[in-house]
Symmetry: C2
Subunit: 334 residues, 2 copies
DNA sequence: TCGATGCGTCGATGCGCTTCGACGGCCCGG
DNA sequence: CCGGGCCGTCGAAGCGCATCGACGCATCGA
């Protein structure tokens, strides 16, 4: 193994000088710096992560706690993870993956063993039980999602209320008078995931302001459940002409179900989806949608973490504004 | 921070005794062990990961290199990651996530900085350029997928040749005489991903043995591409009654396309899919399928890694046998 | 009864790095 | 021409742990 001492003797300097070249914490003369950098490259030196962590109390590792239930929203989680690991690498950090299953003990373990410099937690519930634990950790934390009581913990999320609002406003602008929300499966509501409620509130409030009739359904992501849900919807609100779908897992089934019923999109029903961009574009019809900016969220979360590591204690709640893109699935009401 | 010295003085023993209690590498009398364990629990002691790594040359971290292209096979990757992290935890290890984007340099970095004890690499291509690098790393490595030249590196994968074979055998058994394979998008073949070719070989060989007419198409995962692909298929092989779909991204689009053409599944065409179990069950019709055992693969990969860390150098290539489950999408030929 | 054996525990050492204080040489102002 | 200050570099200490050799005590056979 190549150590800092090897580099030092190769470059004819002391180990501490090499360290300072690497960290930039003291000024080094250009010629010396150059010699050291050459030696580093030539020997392929990389500091031993453990030794560095021991001496500096910094691991250059970010922990990310993700939900790995299969029922979850897999593509969104995956995109989030992808952008987080990329963003972390841009700050010269690595990403350690933890599952929600490990619970509070897992968080304590990670903190106590100094395995990571900060923790990013996805899938935050409204009454998030991990919040007190996270606060007691004395470690930088970033939440993806907004619990009812964030207690000063920094949060990042899509502004779901505004997203619900935007969907309704779009349909209202097209002259639709009766609309319905097809929300995520009942399980999501039961779990108390905060975004579902926030979206629903934005949806309902704006429908009220605009004077629209607005129903709302929760639907599990299976063809049968979707079929039953649409049955209910058409029975209870036969004049519905606008649909807002807040669950990407349901999209394919819904579009297929509508087609089988002879309901054309957008001629008979306009559909607005809340889903990742590329998903909206690759359904059987290109969907007007509010994007779930998983990539931006991942980046933002890492940024907030890094900022805390730099000593800023800027306990903000950053809600990304929704972006509605009009595609082929919505049109003016008849 | 609670250190081993704190535990030691709390329990009235020396630090080394605490260490031996933890590692079990020397025998400790039951009373002492009990006192130490109590102190550990009471103080909430967890060894400092960096210090442990420095002293023992073991990090208790496994690195996992995943492809994070969006075009990829997201649900399968996610399942794999999920099971790998769970399996790793069962061995008291954590999972560090790396992206394929980092390439060979990333592998060298991880190895040189002793950040992980072993590396698991997904998305192996037939002519995998990373194989020589991985061999030179002097670190335990496990490949998910089988390159043309594994050179002694342990591999885990589904036996795709057998899977292709099983699909054909199932359709042949039902009396289908003319079948077609709808394979992954041309991009996958171009990249030289090894599993696509192996599946195709199994498919073709068994079709030959059984005397079936077998065509094969590569299809990108979009509704348009699927439509065009089915156009070609029906024009060139109008008597096809059995379809093997080896790309889960294409499934929903294909089923929807067939329905729109008035082709009923399974009455007019039988469909066998290669996809994760739950995906097969949640399409518009429950699909006869060969499972992609992402969970088992993740577990197996971690096991092979741990085994190498235990000193075994059992450079095996473990191909999991395919499991075909008959569901509602296949029936006897007319 | 005495030496040999083995079990349970301890102290010291070192893993590779960061960081702090110190020091020598240089430049500048008086 | 001399002293003070600054810049660039070095040496030493210590981060928390695993591990090795050593040691004391009890046990057993001769």
């Amino acid at each position: 193994m190549v150590t800092i001492a090897d580099v030092a003797s190769d470059a004819g300097v002391s180990p501490s000088t090499v360290s300072y070249v690497l960290s930039g914490k003291r000024s080094i003369s250009p010629p010396t710096r150059r010699r050291v950098e050459q030696s580093i490259r030539r020997l392929g030196y990389h500091p031993h992560a453990g030794a560095r962590a021991l001496a500096s109390n910094r691991t250059n590792i970010l922990a990310l706690v993700v939900p790995l239930r299969a029922d979850q929203n897999v593509p969104v989680v995956m995109r989030f993870v992808a952008s987080a690991v990329t963003a972390a690498r841009a700050y010269d950090h690595d990403l350690l993956l933890l599952t929600k299953d490990e619970g509070a003990d897992g968080l304590r373990r990670v903190a106590a063993s100094s395995i990571a410099d900060a923790i990013i937690v996805m899938d935050i519930e409204a009454a998030e039980p991990r919040v007190p634990v996270l606060r007691a950790l004395h470690l930088p934390v970033v939440l993806i999602g907004v619990p009812d009581e964030p207690f000063g913990l920094p949060c990042v999320d899509l502004d779901f209320a505004a997203a619900g609002s935007a969907c309704v406003a779009h349909l209202a602008g097209l002259g639709h008078a009766e609309i319905a929300l097809i929300g995520p499966s009942p399980a999501v509501y039961e779990r108390g995931t905060s975004y579902a409620g926030r979206f629903l509130r934005g949806f309902t409030a704006t429908a009220g302001e605009r004077g629209l009739l607005a129903a709302s359904y929760a639907c599990a992501p299976s063809y049968d459940a979707v079929h039953a849900c649409v049955d209910d919807l058409l029975r209870e609100h036969p004049d519905t002409t606008g649909l807002v779908v807040h669950d990407e897992a349901v999209l394919a089934a819904l579009l297929s179900d509508l087609r089988q019923r002879g309901l054309r999109v957008p001629d008979d029903v306009s559909v607005v989806a809340v889903c990742p961009e590329d998903m909206a574009a690759t359904q059987s019809i290109a969907l007007t949608s509010v994007a779930i900016p998983a990539g931006e969220l991942g980046r933002a979360a890492v940024e907030l973490a890094m900022r805390q590591l730099d000593g800023e204690t800027h306990h903000e709640i950053r809600l990304l504004p929704p972006q509605l893109t009009v595609r082929a699935s919505t049109t003016a009401a008849a």
